[in-house]
């Protein structure tokens, strides 16, 4: 048996202070210490640190990543292995999480596909990060920095700050401790002989050119499908490094709190035997797609799965990977459910996916990302509002005279989550 205990420390506010610490559910932050951590990277010219609280009239944009502060308390390895900590395998022992808080990275736009987090109003209903107290890093790169280098600088700064803040919870008594237990193949069979064997196939965004995900520091383009213990992701083994449309990419926060993993654990030992997790990629070459989907289906069969949930990341090109996976896993006689989102046009009448197959008869949707929403004018913008017509989901003249903004849901960070983080759906 492998066991990870996660101690959740509930954070209900973040405040600036001359000393960084966690006390009575408040995360106190030394702004200068944060700036120093960010500016360790010579590619970042300047950094501002701001706080955005639920309900405030604040808009954060263009949002690149969202990260939950965590730290390792017991057991081997450290948080964000292979990137911030050494590459030791994680997922056992004890981890503390500053639940309810998040680090958000923004500043000068990296690519086109960064998002919006509104802390109040219509937009707040759609993003999960209107409910977290956010420490926002507004970072500006040195002149002439290439976009992929800029992406790297922002990504790493966010992770460094999240790890720094996470450490503050190391000796704090958590509000809740949850134990996540997994078993080896034989042990699981013996323990739950009559429960259906269920696995989770997570497709990681790996289209390249700033559409990347990292597994223990390895670019997911370069992995072949593999088995990973679902508790490993809770320690930050999978990281977002991508600029896919913000509505359906998985920010690092979502990887750390993957809802499919959590909800499968909730059923583990009751209605199912949660056997494990397979990660695969979404490369753009056909041979890669074939190899990865073939191998994913083989691994599902190898684990003797009765059922599998497959989640996608991104849209369009990866729809083909999703359908290949679904088709091939189903062909092994394994009952399959897929989670995706839709691009059905603003009026909802277009074809939602770029690929289809009759075997995909059990689909959960995170909603139509093309649907338009109207965002109110808010008092404060953290970051830079000027790319609002250029980010994915924006369009020409989408800021109206009274300051309200029209965007497709695409532009809202985490809105149409394809790991099912939200209640949003479509019919």
């Amino acid at each position: 048996m492998r066991k990870l205990e996660v101690g959740y420390i509930d954070i209900h506010d973040i405040q600036f202070s001359n000393e960084s610490k966690v006390e009575n559910g408040v995360l106190f932050v030394d702004k200068e210490a944060i700036k120093k951590i960010v500016l360790e990277d010579e590619n970042i010219k300047s950094c501002e640190v701001e706080i955005a609280r639920p309900g405030e009239s604040v808009r954060i944009t263009p949002v690149k990543d969202v990260i939950e502060p965590r730290c390792k308390v017991e057991g081997q390895g450290g948080i964000f292995p292979g990137v911030i900590s050494k590459v030791t395998t994680v997922g056992t022992g004890r981890t503390h999480a500053l639940r309810g808080s998040a680090v958000v990275t923004t500043g000068k736009i990296v690519g086109f596909q960064e998002g919006i987090i509104d802390m109040t109003g219509e937009g707040a209903k759609y993003t999960p990060f209107s409910k977290t107290v956010n420490l926002v890093l507004v970072m500006n790169p040195i002149d002439g920095l290439k976009q992929h280098e800029h992406e790297y600088a922002n990504r790493m700064a966010g992770l460094r700050v999240a790890a720094y803040l996470g450490e503050l919870g190391k000796s704090v008594e958590p509000n809740e401790v949850v134990s996540y237990e997994t078993y080896g193949v034989k042990e699981g069979m013996e323990k739950y002989p009559n429960l259906p064997r269920v696995g989770y196939v997570q497709m990681l965004q790996s289209q390249g050119l700033m559409h990347d995900t990292y597994v223990y520091g390895v670019d997911a383009k370069k992995i072949v499908p593999t088995i990973i213990n679902p508790t490993e992701v809770m320690d930050g083994a999978i990281l977002s490094g991508n600029c896919v449309s913000s509505c359906d990419k998985n920010p690092t926060y979502i990887h750390m709190n993957n809802p499919v993993v959590h909800d499968l654990f909730a059923q583990h030992g009751k209605t199912i035997n949660f056997v494990g997790m397979i990660i695969t990629n979404e490369n753009v070459y056909l041979a890669d797609k074939e190899r990865s989907s073939n191998w994913t289906a083989e691994l599902c069969e190898y684990l003797d799965l009765d059922g599998a949930i497959v989640s996608q990341e991104g849209f369009g090109n990866p729809d083909t990977d999703l359908i290949m996976n679904c088709k091939k896993i189903s062909a092994k006689g394994i009952k399959t459910v897929i989670i995706t989102d839709e691009y059905a046009g603003r009026d909802g009448t277009s074809q939602s996916l770029a690929d289809a197959d009759p075997s995909a008869d059990a689909v959960v949707t995170g909603g139509n990302a093309n649907e338009l929403i109207t965002l109110p004018k808010l008092d404060k913008v953290i970051g830079d509002l000027s790319p609002i017509d250029k980010i994915a989901g924006g369009f020409e003249n989408n800021v109206l005279e009274d300051g309200t903004i029209l965007v497709e849901l695409q532009a809202i960070t985490g809105a149409t989550s394809e790991v099912g983080f939200n209640c949003l759906s479509a019919r």
Partner: protein
């Protein structure tokens, strides 16, 4: 405020006139409610009222379609109706088809909101669910109470011009228009519920039924490439520097047509990409990487191709609805044909 005026359409059976033997009766207009109308009126409360009921035999309607339609429409019109309600027809096939047909006709002719209800397997459902709102009911009249409970609130919303939510919320049959709504459970939990049902061999309902897919067979190869006019079309977003037509970085609402007469090479100073779905560094450095003008000019010179067409067409494929993309191509394909282009190189990213 005055009550919303509703006209209700029912068949001979629900009007208590008779069964099959009376199915040939002609349309008849009666003041106020008849049969199931009473339950609707009750559900409408103070907001709406059935001012008249049209009764028509199912056989008559279906066998004298044009005449029946015209008569019923005139009857509805005479009542200054704000809303037209038909059925529910449950699993009665001819009644369902009549309800769908007349609801559709009233909507088109009179421009007022309409609503009907029937069982999902009623042939009228498939025929009309994409043109009018049809509430899914049980398969027999025993489900009347349930049907009224779903239909009355939706009828009021429609009559008042309120925003209509997703089919799952409002109870109408999915009509091909995808609409967002907040479910009670998050997606991951819904996926697990669905999987548990699938594993147990129980019935489950997918949230997105797979569409019939449009696959385009490639044309035969070009026979005489050395004399062919070749055009370039791309979904990779290559545009003249500055993106003069403001093609969106994602979910494009338009395409661009640009003159490349005399352009031998796309350079960083003259062209760029508007596409938001990939790292634009390499495309911006040299847009020929996505739209190979330079190579085609060489081929043109060497006589490997006849010539490069004077215009290229471009849009952004990223998150762009298939329907929009089809619309763009329908337009510019005609232009390409009119310009006697023999072949197109379509590049994607």
């Amino acid at each position: 405020m005055a009550k919303i005026r509703v006209v209700h359409y029912i068949n001979q059976f629900f009007a208590n006139i008779g069964g099959e033997e009376k199915a040939d009766i002609k349309p008849e207009l009666r003041e106020g409610v008849v049969g199931p109308g009473a339950a609707f009126n009750q559900a409408f409360g103070d907001e709406a009222e059935i001012v008249a009921t049209v009764i028509c035999g199912d056989s008559y309607f279906n066998e004298n379609l044009e005449e029946a339609k015209k008569t019923v429409i005139d009857m509805v019109k005479s009542q200054n109706a704000d809303m037209f309600l038909a059925g529910p027809a449950f699993n009665a096939g001819r009644y369902g088809v009549a309800c769908g047909t007349i609801a559709d006709a009233v909507k088109k002719e009179l421009g007022i909101p309409v609503l009907t209800g029937m069982y999902v397997e009623n042939p009228g459902a498939d025929m009309f669910k994409n043109s009018v709102y049809i509430v899914a009911t049980k398969n027999s009249a025993a489900g009347m109470r349930d049907a009224v409970k779903k239909m009355a609130p939706l009828a009021l919303k429609l009559a008042k011009g309120e925003k209509i939510g997703a089919s799952a919320e409002e109870g109408y049959m999915p009509n091909g228009v995808r609409k967002n709504f907040f479910d009670t459970k998050r997606g991951s939990a819904r996926a697990i519920d669905m999987l548990l049902k699938k594993l147990a061999g129980k019935e489950f309902v997918t949230e997105f039924p797979m569409p019939d897919f449009d696959r385009v067979a490639p044309n035969p190869a070009v026979k005489d490439i050395a004399h062919a006019t070749i055009a370039l079309v791309t979904s990779g977003g290559i545009v003249p520097k500055g993106n003069p037509d403001h093609i969106e970085s994602s979910s494009a609402s338009k395409y661009g047509k640009y003159d490349i007469e005399g352009v031998m090479d796309l350079t960083a100073d003259t062209y760029e990409t508007a596409h938001g779905g990939y790292d634009p560094v390499y495309a911006n450095e040299d847009a020929d990487r996505v739209l190979p003008v330079d190579i085609l000019r060489e081929y043109e010179k060497e006589g490997k191709i006849g010539k490069l067409h004077r215009y290229f067409y471009t849009t952004v494929g990223n998150g762009t609805a298939v329907k929009s993309a089809k619309g763009f191509a329908d337009e510019f394909s005609k232009e390409l044909k009119d310009a006697n282009v023999d072949a197109v190189i379509l590049t994607s990213t």
